[in-house]
Subunit: 204 residues, 2 copies
């Protein structure tokens, strides 16, 4: 099967905020706010490159077991990011368990996609078990999220950590060792260049 040179749908795992903060002598929770500006920069880069859809691993149900200072910080960062990209014209879908108190109420209406620009799916209070549990009732809870072509992770971890397991089945996985707040556009440029070099057989 011929592959398109550009991935249609890219997943992003922006990991390493807490390690970045610790390395800079800051409390761990100070790292999340430092992830917003890089996220906006990457959003603009995706738009410019012609990426059709992006999915961002914001926080999971498991993450909400962290100390409340951290939890408050990543929730606030996610809400700020979500509203800013909406303001910039993104078509936003929030994927996560909105029935829990851990879900930011201000994002409830975005459990259905809003807007007409580049699709951005924000995984907020997401859990892979929560997602798959939908299959008992006919479909994934993330059924509005398409198959991923490429996943880019920062922070050096070489695992999916529960990120959209069904949409990830054929995705190429590109890892950067830099912590997310140290994002540079060059990272994503290199991911796209690498993606072009990968064969894609889909098992055939």
């Amino acid at each position: 099967m011929a592959r398109s040179i550009l991935p249609t749908h890219v997943g992003f795992i922006p990991d390493g905020n807490r390690r970045w903060a610790a390395d800079h002598g800051l409390p761990k929770e100070a790292g999340y706010e430092k992830g917003i500006a890089p996220g906006l920069q990457l959003y603009e880069q995706c738009k410019k490159a012609g990426i059709n859809e992006a999915s961002i691993y914001c926080f999971t149900q498991d993450n909400t077991k962290r100390p409340s200072a951290q939890k408050d910080a990543f929730r606030e960062a996610c809400v700020a990011f979500a509203f800013e990209i909406m303001r910039r014209g993104a078509s936003v879908l929030v994927v996560g368990d909105e029935t829990s108190s851990q879900f930011p109420q201000s994002l409830t209406e975005f459990r259905h996609r809003q807007g007409v620009g580049m699709k951005v799916n924000l995984l907020i209070n997401y859990g892979w078990e929560w997602d798959l549990a939908g299959l008992k009732n006919g479909g994934l809870r993330s059924s509005d999220v398409s198959r991923l072509d490429l996943i880019v992770r920062w922070g050096g971890g070489r695992r999916l950590s529960g990120f959209l397991p069904v949409q990830s089945v054929y995705a190429d996985f590109y890892v950067r060792d830099e912590y997310w707040p140290d994002f540079k556009p060059q990272h994503f440029d290199e991911a796209l260049a690498w993606f072009k070099t990968q064969d894609r057989t889909l098992g055939g």
Copy 2:
């Protein structure tokens, strides 16, 4: 969460048999038979290292769309490998759609685990959609396969290609560029050494 130094359950994706054959001036189908001896070597290495469970990506439902010379060759290699590790005392479970004519009849009884040695799960005529479809009826079709700690892939591909998506959610992913028939024990030694260096937070 503290991690054990040794992975309990390791997944193997032995890719690159056809490219190996082409590089050696052989027809593509000649590569599969060259994968058996490395598999036995790796099985003995796992036993010696004290690995509790191994899952091997043998062939998928999608793979059976390949030319019949290839299909015959990989089926035969899988059956030969399965019977040889049973003879050596492995506790074998075959995971795959046994209702299809693509499933080797001689392996039907191993759709339930047989034996008491090291657990080896062979994915034969497996499909991730087939697996997940079990959730509609109460559980994965691979429900006897435990969570993976480490996945090792040969042949350079940085993707899971549908390999046990649920058991893979937190697995560390280690890739070798060598084609599978060029397996050397050093590859797995290096994978285990690398695994020890990985943090494991499981989202907490």
